[in-house]
Amino acid sequence: MSMESVITIRDLRVSYKDREVLKGINLDIYGNKITAIIGPSGCGKSTLLRCLNRMIDLADGARVSGRVLLQGEDIYSPKIDPVRVRFKVGMVFQKPNPFPKSIFENVAFGPRINGYKGDLSALVERSLRLAGLWDEVKDRLTANAYTLSGGQQQRLCIARALALEPEVLLLDEPCSALDPVSTMRVEETIAYLKERLTIVMVTHNIQQAARVADYTAFLLNGELVEFGETSRMFTVPKDKRTEDFITGRFG
């Protein structure tokens, strides 16, 4: 099976003022796979994720250098608009952040602003089904999103991102605010989704990476320590620091 790199990261550096938080990352994200980024807090894993859809541009005073190729196109090239990148690369955040609107309007938000000309109701239904939420909400699409439980809200946020039919979905510790049962549901959803798109997930939970990820990248102090297939990395880590981290000796 030939491996296609959907995102290619080359010598990516990010600094805030004088502090360098990413120190030259090289990484390939493969298509239709789940890649987990793990590491202790403050290692730069969220920053790395935010570089992949240029959300990093919104952070005050962040400077980015290096290249991030999305399907061969450098998303940091001056002629690329960050808004167009975000249209192609979806993102789900740490805490569920639905808009204070109805369930339907939450999912329809992206399609509406991006000029969707097809059948909007069908798209909303499709997205909610993909996120595994349809059966729970199909009778109350007009209810406010805040009436959902935390886990449902997070799956709604996934559906909202899926409605733009992105090629890549970024997940920033998507289960950190959820209980175990909701976490399980979200993980099932993620596993199901990799048939259709490429997923990059930041997690502080090593077990979660082991459960869902095909590939894992271990970040420490802004440097990529090790990257490889999850099964291999969790059994025979090449680097001593990786071994220390996954066995819980720090972080």
């Binding site: 808004v83 602003i113 000029g115 969707y116 000309k117 039919e165």
Partner: protein, 294 residues
Amino acid sequence: MSRREDSFFPNLEGRKRLDLIFKLVFFSANLVGLSVLLLLLGKIVRDSWGWLDMQFITSFPSRFPEKAGILPAIYGTVYLMIITALFAIPTGIAAAIFLEEYAKKSKFLSFIQVNVYNLAGIPSIVYGILGLTVFVRWLNLGRSLLAGGLTMGLLVLPVVIVTAQEAIRAVPESLRHAAYALGATKWQTVRYVVLPSALPGMLTGIILALSRAIGETAPLIPIGALTFIRTIPKSPFDSFTVLPIQIYNWTSRPQADFRAIAAAGIVVLLIVLILMNSIAIFLRNKYQGRIKEI
């Protein structure tokens, strides 16, 4: 991929253009404020040009604009501020301490709080009517400095309370716990721990309140501040005038020369306000620095 390109028409160029246009529109809204400010200051300086001199500062009002001055208005404004401050500052701070440090969360407390917020929104002319009824007539203070000062005190009281409350609220809880742990009583904690750290914030609020009082005209009209006065008030029970009243009187006359001395009066009023606010900023920075050192 292909389905995506068939059904989404993001029209990014158009949206970005709209974004840029609105950004400029939103920015220009702020320019309106700035340009009016410059226009207003320019107009006033131009109108007053040549009229603002020592003679203007040291003379009494007169039927002849070239002889008229604001001496009694300056005295009146200063004396009025002293009375206002003596009344509003202790009362306001005491009320704030009670609301923040002593009162338990209750219906009555929230009633007082709502009342304070709403007092701040009552038109100043209504305070004038209150002052006329209560101070001038019921307490028989007459159309005096004292009646005016107390009226102004009531007007700025909510401002002092609210800003003092905010200053007290900003004092970290850990400082209070530290004091209690050393066996301090509630009042000792407030007196020696809370108040000193809340002082800069309170000071800013007080100067803000007094700036408001200096510029207010409307509440003193029912009190009966005079517009033509030949004496400087000697006691709190004397009649008086203040700068804004004097400015109002001169502005409302049709002759251009009176408008000019009104503008000169405005320049003096604005200089006083700028001085007060500079002091506020200076004090705030000084004390803030000190607290950080601790």
